[in-house]
């Protein structure tokens, strides 16, 4: 899978998703629960605003000094005996991993959940070398065995499927005969892929945060699959977006505390694993070889742009869990592995406006995402910036641009403005009936989903003038 998950038009995707009653109900329930858990956890910790501010400051400091911290990180990984590959593009990254797969003559790779490896489409590159890739996070595993169904949430990727659907997938694909009980299905998968961990030649993980001062990669997980993938195979490859770094363990404390509470409402997840290089010589488990692949893939362009703030993101999905647009259209509507507010900002930046021009409009600008973001990213401001940029670069529909430029022309001329709104008010009161425009003046796409107020035939300015005189 690469970042783009669908070739269907955005509007058609939404139409399909909106018909899926289970998905809509389950997304609404999930949002409610995750939102509540996050709020309770933040409340219980206390001083949440201070924590958020520290999170924001740490991430900003790292971005402002990213070249230094990446240098320090890579020096330390090398000192510990690991390899570091800097990849400007997705292709450079996948080439490097492919070389390792070939060099080791690897037949099996176990992976723990990693969004960035999805972003660069790593699995299919490995698989073309006659090497199996097993996604071992339960959610990712469900999607993988279901013919690589796209994820619908960055933390809970199979959120759109119910237990009956999952049972049917397992029955079809992995000989499951049991019930739709989540515990029974989970245990079955545990046993079913157990040997994959023991047999794998390479373990691949993402990286929640790298610690520059020690060359450490920290993984924040629950299932134990990331631990298995970094304990049993001889080679461990960690893939990270270049901005996922903190200066020292002291900052790691703050960002991990924010991440766990914001993602799952817990003080810590089941496992926070800090891995520093390959195993020491006298140890007998853990990887003999460690590779860190650091990926740009468009991030440096973001760093030098007005969208820089988005690189603070810690991928907790708190914004997703609070977004009313996501609630209604579901994650797969976004057509990107990154959904919700973070996805609507990030996907066009990493994947371009051609494929993702609609996403910045999947937002009602309610700003709920601002309030929950643990590193205070102004998500809806960034979505507005996207809209502005697209308008400026003439990516928006011709009619919208024509009306905006006509508005600008009239707005800059007070006399013309006064007359236009008077005419407009009179015309509108004649045209609007029951909140709809019966006459198509070319804005039906806009009005069919919105009700128009019925005006009283007078402009605000003339009403105000009269009121003052009276």
């Amino acid at each position: 899978m690469s970042m783009k998950t669908s070739n269907i038009k955005f509007k058609d995707r939404i139409d399909v998703q909106m018909q899926d009653d289970f998905m809509r109900k389950s997304v609404a329930n999930a949002q409610e629960r995750m939102f509540t858990n996050r709020a309770i956890a933040a409340d219980k910790l206390g001083n949440w605003e201070e924590w958020r501010e520290m999170g924001m400051d740490i991430r900003n400091h790292v971005l402002d000094n990213l070249d230094y911290y990446l240098q320090q990180l890579s020096d330390n990984v090398q000192k510990n005996g690991g390899h570091v590959f800097f990849a400007r593009t997705a292709d450079e990254a996948t080439d490097y991993v492919e070389n390792i797969v070939q060099e080791k003559n690897a037949k099996k790779v176990v992976k723990s959940k990693s969004m960035v490896t999805e972003e660069i489409g790593l699995n299919k590159i490995i698989e073309r070398n006659n090497c199996d890739v097993v996604e071992t996070d339960l959610g990712e595993y469900i999607l993988q065995v279901d013919d690589c169904d796209p994820p619908s949430h960055i933390v809970v990727p199979a959120l759109h499927k119910n237990r009956m659907q999952i049972r049917d997938v397992f029955k079809d694909k992995i000989d499951y005969q049991g019930s739709d009980d989540p515990e029974e299905m989970t245990r079955y998968v545990r046993n079913y892929i157990r040997n994959d961990f023991l047999e794998a030649d390479i373990g691949i993980t993402g990286c929640n945060f790298a610690v520059a001062e020690s060359g450490t990669v920290a993984l924040v997980t629950n299932e134990g699959n990331a631990r298995l993938a970094t304990t049993l195979p001889k080679t461990h490859i960690a893939v990270m977006g270049m901005e996922r770094i903190v200066p020292t363990f002291e900052e790691l404390d703050i960002v991990v505390s924010l991440l766990c509470r914001s993602a799952v409402g817990l003080p810590l997840t089941g496992y926070v694993t800090a891995l520093t290089g390959p195993r020491e010589d006298e140890h007998c488990d853990g990887p003999e070889e460690f590779h860190l692949v650091i990926i740009d893939n468009g991030r440096s362009d973001i760093l030098g742009s007005e969208f820089k703030d988005i690189l603070r993101c810690v991928r907790c999905a708190a914004c997703v869990n609070t977004c009313p647009a996501y609630r209604h259209i579901g994650g797969q509507s976004y057509g990107s592995i990154y959904s919700g507010p973070i996805g609507a900002v990030l996907s066009p930046l990493l994947g371009g406006y051609d494929d993702f021009k609609d996403l910045p409009y999947a937002c009602s600008l309610c700003r709920a995402c601002h309030d929950v973001c643990p590193v205070k990213i102004p998500l809806s401001d960034l979505l507005l910036k996207h809209r502005q940029k697209m308008a400026e670069s003439k990516q928006t529909p011709l009619l919208e641009r024509a009306s905006v430029s006509a508005f600008n022309f009239i707005n800059a001329r007070p006399l013309l403005w006064g007359n236009t709104v008077k005419v407009g008010a009179t015309m509108a009161s004649g045209l609007i009936r029951n909140g709809k425009l019966p006459v198509n003046i070319g804005v039906s796409a806009w009005t069919e989903t919105r009700d128009l107020p019925e005006p009283d035939g007078e402009s605000f300015r003339s009403w105000f003038k009269k009121r003052n005189q009276g």
């Binding site: 800097f86 119910n162 002291e250 404390d253 089941g270 800090a274 650091i294």
Partner: protein
């Protein structure tokens, strides 16, 4: 063997294992609109101290109470207290708790436990005291290498490890990998038993990361695998329903040694 080791050491010191770095970092500096920064950057002090304030006023006994409460209510794990003198007895019953047949009254099955060889643990417990005719106890043996240790750990019902610290806020055991205590001991067996001295209980992650920061500042290598483990493995990937026991251990018991 000695030759191999020295070759490997040489390799670590001399081999270039960083690829494409300069152009990559030059580009970042350019995007930031300035020259490359190659000398240490001053790290601003954190603006607040709220992370230090969490449970700051609690005594060791109170931290223990918090740890036990959180472990039993939120993590679905067991928490026991014991003394140095009673440890062997407590540990044996904790291990056997996971070795018994699930059907009550059924005869006990043959079972196995793998024990970390951490000297702090072996100083407190004689492995033979834990064993009986139906319960064999193995000790992690670094000299045997990967295969035999992993085979036993995968077969064993219980893995016993010694924790560096425990975090009261999140019911977390902190493990540093060391040659005597492999990563697999707390990972492959279905049940994990953690032994932790009460004196090493700390409020939260803040104090644990401070210790790691000290090590890094002094130029020490951080152990290759430091784990913060909060209860057994779990998932909520199916309809957000929490299921305990996925790929990692299914069960966990914490044993706090009160007089240590």
């Amino acid at each position: 063997m000695a030759n191999n080791d020295s070759e490997k050491t040489m390799d670590h010191q001399t081999a270039q294992r960083i690829y494409n770095r300069e152009s990559f970092l030059d580009n970042i500096a350019q995007k930031l609109g300035r020259e490359r920064k190659t000398t240490p950057v001053e790290r601003p002090a954190l603006k607040y101290r709220c992370h230090h304030d969490v449970m700051a006023d609690k005594s060791q006994d109170e931290l223990k109470a918090e740890l036990i409460k959180y472990t039993e209510t939120a993590l679905g794990a067991r928490a026991l207290e014991t003394t140095k003198a009673e440890l062997a007895k407590t540990l044996k019953s904790a291990c056997l708790y996971y070795c018994n047949n699930e059907e009550e009254d059924a005869a006990r099955q043959d079972s196995e436990t793998i024990l970390s060889a951490d000297e702090r643990l072996l100083a407190l417990v004689d492995p033979t005291e834990l064993a009986d005719e139906q319960h064999s106890v193995h000790v992690w043996d670094q000299s045997a290498g990967y295969e035999p240790n992993i085979t036993i750990a995968e077969r064993a019902q219980v893995g016993v490890v010694f924790a560096e610290q425990a975090l009261a806020e999140s019911g977390t055991m902190v493990l540093y990998s060391n040659p005597a205590q492999g990563r697999a001991v707390s990972l492959l067996p279905e049940a994990s038993v953690f032994i932790v001295p009460q004196s090493t209980l700390i409020p939260r992650l803040t104090q644990a990361t401070a210790a790691l920061h000290e090590k890094a500042k002094n130029g020490e290598r951080i152990p290759s695998c430091v784990n913060f483990i909060s209860g057994p493995s779990s998932t909520a990937d199916i309809e957000l329903i929490k299921v305990v026991g996925v790929h990692g251990p299914v069960y966990a018991t914490y044993i706090v040694i009160n007089d240590m």
